[in-house]
Assembly symmetry: none
Homo-oligomer: 215 residues x 4
């Protein structure tokens, strides 16, 4: 059901991934509007109910189009989901990236990354339901998301180390550790409850990265 992950991944050459499968891109303006409506509706539906409990009927109902119209734009339920995961992944990157690049020190960059991620997650709580569920629905996208995110973090840490800003023994482990911290802090302080100030949380983590937690 979910397995056929065949040629598709390679086909979508662009790293960002064309949201609808190339074969079904809308040709008319009307078509573009319908596609967007379906995509937004899918984010809502899966965000609220998850992949398995969400239904195509639910998506088209939200989008205000006929059931059959779904298949004009997507080949299967799996496919919208895949498109959605890539889309969300892309959105996080676009939202957080600039803030990181604007930082002056690397510690400050990591602080900014967490801060903006928490803010993004507060505005898009579906992101957890969607990306996390990809672990079960579309492992390929799930891996891709975290692998590239970790790679990006590792690369910038490496550069900072090379610049002499960070410890020289910096490694992939540090990247995964930082990513894990961020994800869980987002889960706790964005999705579960917004009961703490994002700036304060970012401060705590920045200080911890700067000098550890030992006295």
């Amino acid at each position: 059901m979910v397995g056929r992950r065949d040629a598709k991944a390679t086909a979508t050459a662009a790293p960002e991934a064309a949201v609808p499968p190339a074969s079904k891109e809308p040709r008319t303006e009307r078509g573009r509007r319908t596609l967007r409506a379906i995509l937004d509706a899918a984010a809502e539906e899966f965000g609220e109910k998850g992949f398995h409990d969400g239904s195509i009927a639910g998506i088209t109902r939200r989008a205000g189009v006929a059931l059959g119209s779904f298949y004009t734009y997507f080949d299967s339920k799996d496919e919208v989901f895949r498109a959605l995961v890539r889309d969300m992944s892309q959105q996080v990157k676009e939202h957080v990236g600039p803030a990181i690049r604007a930082a002056t020190s690397q510690i400050d960059a990591e602080r900014a990354g967490l801060l903006h991620f928490i803010r993004f997650a507060r505005a898009h709580k579906e992101i957890y339901r969607i990306i996390d569920e990809a672990e079960f629905v579309d492992p390929e996208s799930f891996r891709m998301h975290y692998a590239t995110t970790a790679d990006r973090i590792a690369a910038r840490l490496r550069e900072a180390a090379d610049r002499g800003e960070l410890r020289d023994d910096i490694s992939e482990v540090h990247a995964w550790a930082i990513m894990g911290m961020n994800v869980f802090l987002g889960l706790r302080y964005s999705v579960w409850a917004e009961d703490a100030d994002p700036e304060a949380i970012a401060d705590v983590v920045a200080s911890m990265l700067a000098r550890g937690i030992a006295r």
Copy 2:
């Protein structure tokens, strides 16, 4: 296979979670054996296929019992899953706890926690599929698992801070950060690939906790 369910199932002494619903506890020895077989089979089935693609029929087939026998011990598919999540949660705690308590310093304790968690996850890769999917299938158990884990970490950090071992501004945020690091490092170095030495990973993290990553 999930392993030592022996002590628990018989005793059910632990207040935390009677694995089968009280109303359906087996009254004969034969019944106890069947229950154990079903539970182990469920861990296998869900670990391999996930909750939604796993089936009751798959479970009973693996367990070598008739389809209907499942319902002698559980009221629904959700219920075995719930039982399994609680069980795994309990197992992690039981496996990692002693190592933490045996440590001499608090940094060492956190190091030991991560080390043993990675080892546990390598031996029980299903744990990710099962606990993570609980976010969608049984949010209650999912929250419970991470909330209590974070609480436990926070409590021991606090005590260490009070003893003067850690920074005094230690908080819940640190607990969630550490938990997130551990979970993601486990995902990367236990489930995805065992391409690094657990001791080495633990060393990196311990050092990072001890003095941060700044030069």
Copy 3:
């Protein structure tokens, strides 16, 4: 609770139907007690839930015996039900018959029949659920119940006509009409609501039988 099953169970002399299948009559005193418990429990269970929603497990639970014990006394679910229908049928007859025979005039006899039937139904509301459902579960018993009841009524009307007490054109139609009236008045004023005095209802019907409803 259904009540005096005592006299009958032991005697079973009447050709109408040994309540438990002859092949399975209990031989010990303990057995007799268990049988009685099952029978009473079945009347409760089917009276409350109906035949299809009632279950063997429900019966044995109420009776306080093991599930398997049911099959020591009855061959199937249908069989208890059959036994129950015959039993209730018999009980009505035994309860109403004497009152009818004690009447001085035939109109009075019909009045007494209705009056006692209403009273009986108020004390045994299950009778409707059980006998009526027999139409679907055990048509044979259902037909038997109403056919013999109608025959009995027809016979006594005929005799009264022969004695000169009733119109000479009395027929089976009258018997069915009277039975139908009684059943529906019982449904309305015993099962649905006890919001009218049985004596008053009986008076109305008696007067109607005596001289019709025309002015």
Copy 4:
């Protein structure tokens, strides 16, 4: 299970009773044909086998549509049954009502009611299996059917009494008595066996209503 009696009944003002739930009314001609086929098939299936032994598969097989198509028009097995009971109830009323209104005297009206009811029941023997089983499957509809029927009878008897055609002490009891007679005579002479002339039966009852059965 059967309880949810939404707002539908009131919403669908149409006196005929919206047979399918509002939310699922067919929007195309093809849909209307399918719905009708399913409804007719359900009457057959339940009429022959009763509610519990009848199956959705049996209905769709008779209707010549796919199993899933059933759920395009009804939410559950209970729901078709409910629709059917209301439908049959309506049909009896529509069949018998005109004959009653055409009568010249009230005794004649009751005679006509019985006569046409017997005829209707001969043509639609399913009516008994369906309405009677509603007592167990959908008590609400069952009560509704008999309560409104009794009310209708009571109202017309009352008017006749006010006009001076009937005894002045006419009451609800008379209405239930007449309804019971009719139902049982229909059972006996329409469903069980058509071994008597409906006109003759109606004559007997009319005479009984006119002047009673006493000599």
